[in-house]
């Protein structure tokens, strides 16, 4: 693109201003951090070490029974989780927005709380509760009802699907409740005036209108579940249930990172990328079709269905749901984390604070907390700044070649965490001059690639709200491009940048899927440490560390809420 322009000589160079430079830098960053590692995965999957095209190994790997079993499991789990999340999400969203359920605002908040609980910690809790041998809930029920064998077995596909759904359904809930709130109530009222009953209206008018939102939410769940490592790994490995991410992990760990294992990993990862691309394509299709303008931006007062006799039972059902999915696992994590030895009855006399003390004195766990905090703050700051720059070029700059950046900017959305980890291993293990393997640097690079999408989304949204004329007005006042950015644009998008920081910081703090493939002896993160302790049978220490992580997360969430509330009041 640039060559004919350079050929113009000096006069051409003059045109090469700030915008072109920033564009080139942005493209370079996205290529190095995201595009190049992904290309390497495909390259690695389809060539021999000598660089020759090679389809035989691909066919061999794909025809192994464990591969297509894992693929089948991935698909079944993703389908199950998506279906269940959609049913639960739509139902609860409708309940808190369109009925006269008591304490609706509180309930709306509570239904988003499952997001705060990292799903692999949830899985550990459910394992402790419902393991067929000695799970606390199983033992309790056996004793209570005099059963012969444990009523629940969480080491099954059903178990995995149910536990994953508990922590992923808010995706659908948030999308659908948002759409229901913004929908123009006159659309339904005019149908009501025409004498149509509320059930038919819901079926024929309300439901079609929210279809785009719930499909968007459902596809998000599907994409997330397909590449999800934590829950299937914690609950599936004992029973020999593997999905693609856990199979990749297994292949690489069992062999200590040999070439063949990586080759297997890259072939499997290619499958994940294809699946993710397909889901993204479907999502665009639905969103394009579903741009109903009738869902307005402002909120209006919808008409509410009177639940009458069902009002209290529905409230009880909602509270029970939250209690079972959030409260029970959290409590069990804290209780087991305080036990003297795993397996003891949950009595106060069996409790101790020594575990916590040990976590803070033991180098491995202490380092993991330190690593996670440093890595997530660092990744959040860098990704937020780079993301702001890239968004600025995409949204605002008038520069040729912008479409390249728009395409590259789409990539991070579609690449699962496991794939990023593999790509990063291929790119940064010394083959291309820089070796970050076994250092914190490789996790850092992976986090940037993984969370770039969040930064782009948040900062481009706030940049779109800064009308071009605001910047142009300052140019007309005599400000240079840089001055206009500094005085006008940056102060106005600051809230978006801050929210981008937190949107990266918190997920990074509890990240497992990517880190688990990248950690070295001294670079464990909190997620990895909890996972490893749990794998080693150190359940008590695993849960103690998990409870510390939960406390950090909850405190952090409270701080964000305070901050964003204060920000809104100032705006």
């Amino acid at each position: 693109m640039k060559f004919p322009r350079l050929a113009k000589g000096l006069s051409g160079l003059k045109k090469f201003g700030v915008a072109e430079l920033v564009l080139l830098v942005s493209i370079a960053i996205l290529v190095v951090v995201v595009a190049f590692p992904i290309l390497l995965i495909f390259w690695n999957a389809f060539t021999t070490p000598e660089g020759k095209f090679n389809l035989k190994d691909v066919v061999t790997i794909l025809s192994q029974p464990q591969t297509y079993e894992a693929l089948w499991n991935s698909v079944v789990i993703a389908a199950g989780v998506t279906a269940l999340s959609t049913v639960l999400g739509v139902f609860f969203a409708w309940l808190v927005t369109r009925t006269d359920l008591p304490f609706k605002n509180l309930m709306k908040l509570l239904f988003v709380v499952p997001f705060m609980l990292p799903s692999f910690i949830g899985a550990i809790a459910w394992k402790i509760l419902c393991s067929p041998r000695g799970g606390y809930l199983n033992v309790f029920l056996v004793n209570l009802l005099g059963l012969e064998k444990a009523p629940f077995n969480v080491y099954t596909m059903t178990g995995i699907i149910i536990v994953e759904t508990m922590y992923l359904f808010p995706f659908v809930f948030i999308q659908v409740s948002g759409a229901l709130e913004r929908m123009d109530p006159t659309l339904e009222e005019s149908a009501l005036i025409s004498g149509i009953d509320l059930f038919t209206i819901t079926r024929k008018i309300t439901f079609p209108l929210i279809t785009p939102s719930f499909v968007a939410g459902a596809l998000l769940v599907a994409m997330y579940s397909l590449s999800h490592f934590g829950v299937p790994s914690v609950l599936g490995q004992n029973a020999g249930i593997y999905n693609i991410p856990t199979l990749i992990y297994q292949a690489i760990h069992a062999s200590g990172g040999s070439f063949n294992a990586i080759r297997t990993g890259t072939v499997l990862a290619s499958l994940l990328v294809l699946a993710a691309a397909l889901i993204l394509y479907l999502q665009n299709l639905v969103l394009k079709k579903g741009r109903y303008q009738i869902i307005a931006g402002k909120s209006m007062r919808p008409m509410l269905l009177k639940l009458r006799g069902l009002r209290v039972p529905m409230l009880v059902l909602s509270i029970l749901y939250i209690a079972v999915t959030v409260l029970l696992p959290t409590v069990i994590i804290f209780l087991v984390g305080a036990l003297k030895t795993y397996g003891l009855p949950l009595k106060f006399t069996n409790m101790t604070l020594d575990n916590l003390k040990y976590i803070f004195t033991w180098k491995m766990t202490r380092d993991s907390i330190k690593n996670s905090v440093i890595l997530s703050v660092g990744a959040a700051v860098v990704t937020m700044l780079v993301g702001t720059m890239i968004s600025y070029v995409i949204v605002k700059a008038k520069v040729k070649g912008k479409f390249i950046l728009e395409f590259l900017g789409m990539l991070p959305y579609s690449v699962p965490g496991t794939v990023i980890a593999l790509g990063v291993i291929l790119a940064w293990s010394g083959k291309f001059g820089i070796n970050l393997y076994n250092t914190a640097g490789i996790i850092f690079v992976a986090y940037i690639a993984r969370y770039m999408a969040f930064a782009l989304k948040s900062t481009s949204a706030s940049l779109e709200q800064v009308h071009d004329s605001l910047e142009e007005a300052s140019r007309a006042c005599g400000a240079s491009h840089w001055q206009a950015l500094k005085d006008i644009v940056l102060p106005l998008i600051k809230p978006g940048m801050i929210s981008a920081f937190f949107m990266i910081f918190f997920p990074a703090l509890r990240e497992l899927t990517t880190s688990v493939l990248l950690y070295g002896p001294t670079t464990r993160t909190i997620g990895v440490a909890i996972y490893a302790l749990h794998e080693d049978g150190e359940t008590v220490y695993a849960t103690a560390l998990a409870s510390i992580a939960l406390v950090i997360i909850v405190i952090g969430e409270i701080i964000i809420r305070r901050l964003s509330k204060a920000e809104r009041r100032n705006a």
Binding site: S469, L470, E472, A476, C477, G478, A479, S480, L492
Partner: protein, 365 residues
């Protein structure tokens, strides 16, 4: 203060040619208005002068300085052009107070602090916002926000003030008020103004000269408001300046016919006295047609009569064509000339203009 000159300027977006070989000179100290339908490229011309867009061909001068030239690869960025711009959407910075907004250009130019404060206070007082210096924009009305933008554009004493439909987002009453204020400000400061709008009333009230642009980005006529209104260059300009009636006619041997029905129109006979024979387009305003009961030889039928207070608005049918007619209420009542819907009447014409053909009217708005 300076003259602004555009010489053979072209601007394309991809294959879409917005303006082509565009020439105009804005004289030093005058207020020139670009008046044209939306999408005609008038805002693009303003943005080219401001330096927000680069021309594909041609040269732009502000004063004696060449600010844009595609051929010589000259491009002065907006901040070096000494301009003031007021946008349709105000573009007042929401995170700064009124005072901070207005003083910003002076801060950038590193004007000495005391002087800057003094000039800012004066500019704020000039637009009638004294006492509101410490307010944030969201605490002010739309009209007040547009005044901030005006003060901010004027405080640095620009060579030219560019106004891009600045009154569009205001309600009718405020629009009228602001229109006089801008005129007053220009008298006080003597600044050269380029005003872009599609509202012909604003253009007539405000401008020293008006340039009428058509949808293809061409200038159809440049002149004083009176010239434009009284001697429109073609039917496009005529139509743009107000509600219009167009009657396609054919004339020969001192007689005129309706083109559609070949009925003779005696009331327009006078058009046949001058010019060549052939097709012509007669044009007039609703107030140029008189409804009467005396036989003028041209009969029409009242389709609709709407009482508007001081005037009555009629739609009358002449040979299958609907004409708008405006009648003074008092005169109509005292002369017993009120017509009901369905009634037959006769037409009398005053101040009728004739244009060569009709084609130019098409594609308007």
């Amino acid at each position: 203060m300076a003259e602004v000159r555009l010489v053979d300027v072209s601007k394309h977006y991809g294959s879409h040619k917005v303006i082509e070989n565009f020439n105009i000179t804005i004289k030093d100290g005058e207020c020139l208005t670009f008046l044209g339908p939306s999408g005609c490229g008038k805002t693009v011309v303003l943005r080219l002068i401001a330096g927000f867009e680069r021309p594909n061909a041609g040269e732009i001068f502000i004063g004696s300085t060449l600010v844009s030239s595609a051929e010589k690869n000259v491009f002065l960025p907006p901040e070096q052009r000494k301009i003031g711009v007021v946008f349709q959407d105000y573009a007042v910075w929401p995170h700064m107070t009124v005072f901070e907004n207005v003083i910003y250009p002076l801060k950038i130019q590193k004007v000495e602090k005391e002087e800057a404060r003094e000039r800012t206070r004066k500019a704020i007082a000039q637009v009638g916002l004294a006492g509101l210096e410490e307010r944030l924009p969201y605490q002010l009305s739309g009209g007040q926000q547009q005044r901030i933008a005006l003060a901010r554009a004027l405080v640095s004493k620009p060579q030219i003030l560019l106004l891009d439909e600045p009154l569009n987002n205001l309600d009718a009453k405020l629009r009228e008020e602001m229109r006089f204020e801008i005129k007053e400000l220009q008298k006080e400061t003597g600044v050269t103004i380029l005003y872009v709008t599609h509202d012909q009333e604003v253009a007539l009230a405000l401008s020293d000269r008006i340039a009428i642009m058509d949808a293809a980005g061409r200038i159809r006529q440049v002149g004083t408001p009176e010239e434009i209104y009284e001697q429109p260059a073609d039917s496009f300009v005529f139509k743009f300046m107000g509600v219009s009636n167009f009657i396609p006619l054919a004339k020969q041997d001192g007689r005129v016919w309706l083109e559609s029905t070949e009925e003779e129109v005696k009331a327009l006979q006078f058009l046949a006295q001058t010019g060549q024979d052939g097709k012509i387009l007669a044009a007039c305003r609703p107030s140029d047609i008189e409804l009467t009961r005396e036989d003028t030889g041209t009969r029409a039928r009242v389709q609709r009569a709407t009482f508007l207070g001081p005037t009555i608005d009629y739609s009358v049918n002449l040979g299958g064509m609907n004409l708008r007619v405006q009648q003074d209420t008092h005169e109509a009542i005292s002369n017993n000339l009120l017509f009901k819907e369905g009634e037959t009447c006769f037409l009398k014409f005053h101040h009728v203009k004739s244009f060569a053909h009709e084609a130019e009217v098409e594609g308007l708005m």
